[in-house]
Amino acid sequence: MEKLNMTINGKAISVDVDPGIRLVDFLRDNLFLTGTKIGCGKGECGACTVIMNGKAVTSCIIPVMRAQGAVIETIEGLGKNGKLHPIQEEFINKGAIQCGFCTPGMIMSSKALLDENNAPTSDEVREALGGNICRCTGYVKIEEAVMAAADRMRKGE
């Protein structure tokens, strides 16, 4: 067991962890943040995407100890006091969600993009989401949702 200090969804924590596990296991099994999904375990589908120090990463290929001192955001950290984040709202409004299994990862990839660039081109959206597989939607409404959320974020929401 090793001591891990990190900030998770805005809250500083200090916990003992098995240094041999993956970040995704720590989030799901130790912190019970099961919103982060596992679709492949090899970084090939994006379902486990979280934001680490501002960058989208697939948490199934990140060793937990790399989170030492890091700022991690998961889907559970979005939205405040029951009010959804504009990306979450637009995913719902635009029909970007079907089975919902890729959704948390897809939203986290979108957030990492829009936090950095709230006026992305369609190519930039596609690049940001290229590592997040969705088998339900054909991606059409996901791109619409990200663009709509970007609009709102530019207006300061």
């Binding site: 799901r28 943040l33 099961t34 919103g35 982060t36 999904k37 596992i38 679709g39 492949c40 375990g41 090899k42 090939e44 589908c45 379902a47 998961t74 889907i75 559970e76 979005l78 939205g79 959804l84 979450q88 709202e89 995913f91 719902i92 409004n93 635009k94 029909g95 969600i97 079907q98 089975c99 919902g100 299994f101 890729c102 959704t103 948390p104 939203i107 190519d123 959206v125 596609r126 690049e127 989401l129 290229g130 590592g131 997040n132 597989i133 969705c134 088998r135 339900c136 939607t137 054909g138 991606y139 059409v140 409404k141 996901i142 791109e143």
Partner: protein, 767 residues
């Protein structure tokens, strides 16, 4: 209508956008164990000896199950177990574990342990001695009498390696069908064309792998939380396999599942059965989550194989006769083999066009590969692929515009046909026109080009069904319950596998009854939520459950209004009353359903109805046009755009409906140009993960335009038809047609990989 036709955001959006919605993978139970499976490394072998002692000795291992200590009662993992109508019998050719594995990945043993890591280690310690036996992989090879027999016990007795039966679909408009009559039909033809197409196995790739948590208690109850898309049939299959009373078995979703596309109509791979077998031994909850690799190599795929068709027509283009043969690879076990081959014939060849003489012969063939089963479209895509190839060829031979040829032959509402129900409304020609306009058909088709990159446009049309009735058992029940405060709760066992059916169902229910959407709830995905429900498959969920709700809502409304008409309340004639937006009114009087429901409660009455019904059926029609660009020197096909026009009868929720089209189209695109399961003899399927399987990603998809056509079907509730599966069906032939337009070559094998396209272009002397 207040809700039908509106873009109402889905009711499960909050759960899914916040990560708070639970999937099977997220489920945990007290004292739960974790399971892993030992799979056969051989395509066909006999287990000579199995020694589990080293695994059992490993600390943390609780139970090891094999064919030696687990029930060997044969069953079928697909819902056909409980949906095959008399006089046919379901093919029960599977057991939970086997001592004679028939494909690479077949289940030999499983372990339940305190942790996943221990279970994985224990699997490595099981010693198995195999005697390798001869195997066969290709359906045409397997049909030859001297090929190894895959299922000596359960295969067709007359036809070597046929599972179940050779499926025949025949129709003759003016006389009883006979093979001679069919040939008379062809004899009248001025032109006969034929086409072949070889289709690959492709994988559903639903984002959540198969998973189940089973909890068996020594008092004889079994609860399963799993990824099934048919909780009630799954309950029946599990109860059958373990000889448990169905009343003691409950199967539910938690309540969400990460997609299905047909892969878990019945058992999810074998997850429910494996978890239950281990739990019954361990008397503790057991969780099994397939790895992505296991999901790829050990659960149903789409059927690949060989399609052939010949089409006879008059020289004016009128179709006369169609004769189609399908030889599809069902794999080691039957699952949906027979039914799927039937749908291939019925919807894939007999539904889109008016054809006076028709025959289809479907061979579901056993091979030593993993099972093929249901995948969006369920056989219709395979049939459509070869029929549309014939139609294009005929257009070429007759020098007719492919759209004009199609429009003159599409099924019309009064045409005689194979279907045992009326055709209903037909929007095919409108779909053809709209797809053509959107793709720019008349400006682009047939352009002569000389550069390296060439563009082409193509089109195809199709039909399907809106449920499985009357071909298979298909019915379901709903309970509609008015809570004590007047809000509506709908209970149904049907799951929400992703399309948003539960949202659309609430829209329909609220308009049928006259209550507000905001206060209505649906309880779904639970075999204990309501009486029998066949589940989410066959494009049926919204269509079929709505039909039951029509009956239920009518009865519920009558009960409410007659109660409200009583002298304690509105004291008037019930027939003068209406219920709208939760308010009962008439004859100048009104009261809220909320008030009435509570008053009723105080008198010991609740408004509730339980209804069960076999749905009618409607044919959804569609046409899709594709535009492609081909890099000739590399054989690289890029799909630029798909214009997808779908006759959905009546749109219930436009955005959700478009979502079904768009998602289906992209699966069709993948099938046409990139997706393929490649078998390596001795190793099994190469495609063990997403980087070895080229399904489309967010930065590699064409523009998709969905066009919804409303033909107002006379049978569907509010005029609707099904949409779920239809989107993926005509995409492949439309793309093949576009590639032909661009290159001059009609390809006969999918997918259009660079290798295949280049070889085809070379063979045709195009490069």
């Amino acid at each position: 209508m207040k809700y039908v036709g509106k873009n109402i955001p889905r009711n499960d959006g909050f759960d899914k956008a916040t990560g708070l919605g639970q999937f099977t993978m997220d489920v945990s139970m007290p004292h739960m164990l974790y399971a892993r499976v030992l799979r056969s490394p051989y395509a066909h072998a006999k287990v000579v000896k199995i020694d589990t002692s080293a695994a059992e000795a490993l600390p943390g291992v609780v139970t090891v199950c094999t064919f030696e200590n687990t029930t060997n009662k044969p069953f079928n993992t697909s819902a056909t177990m409980v949906t095959t109508p008399r006089p046919a019998e379901p093919v029960r050719d599977q057991t939970i574990f086997t001592d004679e594995p028939k494909y690479i990945g077949d289940e030999v043993a499983a372990v339940a342990a305190e942790t996943e890591a221990i279970a994985a280690e224990a699997i490595k310690r099981i010693k198995v001695e195999y005697e390798v036996l001869p195997a066969v992989y290709d359906p045409v090879e397997a049909l030859k009498p001297d090929s190894p027999e895959v299922q000596p016990l359960y295969g067709n007795k007359e036809h070597h390696n046929v599972c179940g039966e050779i499926v025949r679909v025949t129709f003759c408009e003016h006389e009883p069908y006979s093979d001679e009559a069919l040939e008379r039909g062809f004899a009248q033809a001025d032109v006969i064309v034929d086409a072949d197409i070889k289709l690959p196995r492709v994988k559903q790739c639903q984002m959540e792998v198969h998973a189940a948590v089973a909890s068996y208690k020594a008092n004889g109850t079994l609860e399963i939380i799993s990824t099934t898309q048919t909780p009630t049939p799954t309950k029946m299959i599990v109860a059958y396999a373990f000889d448990l009373p169905e009343s003691k078995v409950r199967v539910r979703n938690p309540p969400y599942l990460g997609g299905g596309f047909g892969v878990r109509i019945g058992i999810s791979g074998k997850a429910e059965l494996l978890a239950a077998a281990l739990s019954m031994k361990a008397l503790r909850p057991v969780k099994i989550v397939y790895s992505r690799e296991e999901d790829f190599i050990a659960s149903d795929t789409r059927h690949g194989g060989y399609m052939h068709a010949r089409l006879g027509a008059k020289k004016d283009g009128t179709f006369l006769a169609l004769d189609t043969t399908a030889k599809l690879n069902t794999g080691a076990y039957c699952t949906f083999g027979v039914e799927l081959l039937a749908v291939c014939g019925v919807c894939g060849t007999a539904g889109t066009y008016h054809i006076p003489y028709l025959r289809y012969m479907g061979y579901p063939v056993y091979t030593n590969q993993q099972t093929a089963g249901a995948f969006r479209g369920f056989g219709t895509p395979q049939g459509t692929a070869v029929v549309e190839a014939c139609v294009d060829k005929l257009a070429k031979v007759l020098d007719m515009d492919p759209i004009r040829l199609r429009k003159m032959n599409t099924m019309k509402p009064d045409d005689k046909n194979f279907f045992p129900f009326s055709v209903g409304s037909v929007g095919t020609n409108e779909c053809l026109d709209k797809a053509a306009a959107e793709i720019g058909w008349y400006e682009k088709r047939g352009k002569v080009q000389t550069g390296n990159k060439r563009r082409g446009v193509g089109i195809a049309c199709n039909t399907h069904v809106s449920n499985a009735a009357p071909f298979c058992v298909d019915y379901n029940a709903v309970n509609m319950i008015i809570e004590q405060d007047g809000s509506l709760r709908i209970n149904t066992a049907i799951p929400e596998i992703g399309p948003g059916s539960t949202t659309a169902l609430i829209q329909v229910a609220c308009d049928l009854l006259g209550v507000p959407f905001e206060t209505t709830t649906i309880i779904f995905g639970d075999s204990a939520a309501a009486p029998f429900d066949i589940g989410s498959h066959a494009t049926r969920t919204l269509y079929s459950v709505s039909q039951v709700m029509e009956d239920a809502a009518a009865e519920l409304k009558a009960d409410i209004l007659s109660y409200a008409a009583g002298k304690d309340f509105l004291d008037t004639d019930a027939s003068a009353l209406t219920l709208e937006n939760g308010i009962i009114s008439g004859n100048g009087k009104e009261m809220t359903l909320k008030a009435l429901a509570y008053e009723a409660h105080l008198k010991g009455k609740q408004f509730l109805v339980s209804k069960c019904k076999v749905p009618d059926n409607s044919l959804p029609f569609a046409a899709q046009a594709a535009e492609v660009e081909v890099d000739m020197e590399l054989g690289l096909v890029k799909v630029l755009k798909i214009a997808a026009a779908h006759d959905v009868g009546k749109v219930i929720n436009p955005r959700l409906c478009e979502g079904q089209v768009e998602g289906g189209v992209l699966q069709g695109v993948g099938w046409a140009v990139r997706e393929e399961m490649t078998y390596e003899e001795g190793k099994g399927f190469y495609n063990t993960g997403f980087h070895k399987y080229m399904l489309p990603t967010a930065d590699d998809h064409p523009e998709i335009i969905s066009i919804l056509v409303e033909s107002n079907d006379p049978k569907g509730t509010f005029g609707m038809k099904g949409i779920g599966e239809v989107g993926c069906i005509p995409t492949l032939p439309a793309i093949f047609s576009a590639v032909e337009d661009a290159t001059g070559v009609r390809f006969e094998e999918a997918p259009l990989t660079p290798d295949r396209v280049l070889a085809g272009l070379k063979a045709a002397g195009k490069i």
